[in-house]
């Protein structure tokens, strides 16, 4: 279970303090939790705060009852948090197999790599020895990012806009991955998304706008309001 208590995050922008995250509290114990809201609303910042990449200026974060606020990224990873980036990081010389090996924590066979890569629609044979460098397309890199997160099998996984850039691979497959991950590790999966099809599978939906938590509840409670007069652009939402 993840619990945020009065978490705020401020940055100093040209000597003006700007609050990106404003006093947010919630608990997450559900299978799938979607965080949505307009661009620039603080969703990715919040994900980075949970993963330990950013340190909150106020508030505490608890994972399964343990205060993890002062733990480093590495310590949080070891305590069971995984984070799939919105923009996958490119390396030079580090292969897909290396990365899955780091994710799993021990050396792996091609068959094991295949069990993760096939779930994201990639053939291990074609990919394990490839470098995760700029030669991979955005969609390929994104799917490998998802496979790495899956391979970790932690109790909390955060996906920052997992659907972006994976157009040739269906939403249905992505949802299958989330279901499979939950089946295997039994943990919670937080998905930052604008996509209605992703929001529709959520057990809980959190809406962030201007750094504030504007709504939280089941999808039946939150989605109608979000689509009618929520913070998202109605015209865009109507085109989803």
């Amino acid at each position: 279970m993840l619990e945020l208590k009065n978490v705020s995050y401020e940055v100093n922008d040209e000597n003006v303090n700007k609050e990106i995250i404003k006093n947010i509290s919630f608990t997450i114990d559900e299978r799938f939790v979607a965080i949505t809201g307009p661009n620039g609303g603080g969703k990715s910042t919040l994900a980075k705060i949970i993963a330990g990449i950013l340190t909150p200026t106020e508030g505490r974060i608890f994972l399964d009852g343990k205060d993890i606020t002062d733990l480093s990224i590495t310590e949080r990873a070891k305590n069971g948090i995984s984070f799939a980036f919105q923009q996958p990081v490119r390396f030079k010389g580090i292969t897909v197999k290396d990365l899955i090996t780091f994710a799993v924590g021990h050396s792996i066979t091609t068959t094991e790599a295949c069990s993760y890569l096939s779930e994201v629609g990639l053939c291990a044979k074609d990919y394990i020895n490839r470098e995760l460098n700029a030669s991979l397309s955005g969609g390929e890199a994104k799917r490998i990012e998802i496979a790495m997160t899956m391979a970790r099998g932690t109790s909390l996984s955060i996906f920052d806009e997992p659907e972006a850039g994976i157009d040739l691979w269906s939403f249905q497959s992505l949802i299958k991955v989330f279901e499979m991950m939950h089946e295997k590790s039994g943990g919670s999966i937080i998905i930052i998304s604008h996509q209605e099809r992703i929001l529709n599978i959520a057990d809980k939906v959190i809406v962030l706008a201007n750094g504030e938590l504007v709504n939280i509840g089941s999808k039946d409670e939150v989605l109608p309001g979000l689509l009618v007069d929520g913070p998202g652009c109605e015209k865009l939402i109507s085109k989803m």
């Binding site: 590495t74 980036f85 390396f91 580090i94 292969t95 970790r152």
Partner: protein, 305 residues
Amino acid sequence: MDKITKDLLEQVAGLHEIPTGAYNIRKDGELYGRNVSANIDIVTKTDKPGIDIIVKDNTVNESVHIPVIIAQSGLKESVYNDFFIGENCDVTIIAGCGIHNGGKDASEHSGIHSFDVGKNSRVKYVEKHYGQGEGTGERIMNPKTNILLREGSYMEMDTVQIEGIDSTKRETTARILDDAKLIIKEKIMTHDKQYAETNFSVDLDGENSSTDVVSRSVAKDESTQLFKSEINGNGVCHGHSECDAIIMDNASVKAVPALTANNVEASLVHEAAIGKIAGEQLIKLMTLGLSEEEAEKEIVAGFLK
């Protein structure tokens, strides 16, 4: 074979025992072992230290190992190795030098290698430099490589210096004739107060000649690196050079690329990038459970792989 010799041979030439095929092992300024094959002859020079390696026309799938080992502290030598590769060959040459310096005097090896690669031949040349030893004496290597690629030939030069060389000045010159191609891949890591200088100069003289010079380096601690590359396009040719460096701690890296086109059909490109390890790369590996130090180590190892 004693342990130091064995270790050094393994480091520089990947040898666990005496190799099969043609080889010439030089240790502490003297011949340690030699074998020739039906197609590859090795002859000691009479006018200066060094050997001639003569590969007959049409020799394919053969290799030559010519490692040099220096275990005696304070030894300084210049060795001239000339390769004469016939026509239509396909051979692999594994050179390399390992210095073990257990004393206080500087040990120095300057290998001057020249290649004359015959028409339509392919050569893979692997050169690895490595130093070790508990002594305070410097380990110095100044390799020089002069290459002539004749019509339709191809050469790939992999040069690696990962550890233990205090000072190096590497000079490589090449002249590329019609339809010939030279690929150079350099990997260097310096640490402590080491100094590494690289100088590539390639003349693309032939029609449809081409070269690709790629250097990847990591400079740590207080070390200094200088990378110079010069490509002269004198005909219808294609030249590309790339210097990609990771800088850490208080190190310094300078890249000085030069491109000269003397023909309107010459197409020359240079790319250079020097910078610290990207923060997002460290963060990504840390989110997978690696510590910052482990992440840094893996990123450097991958970069130099």
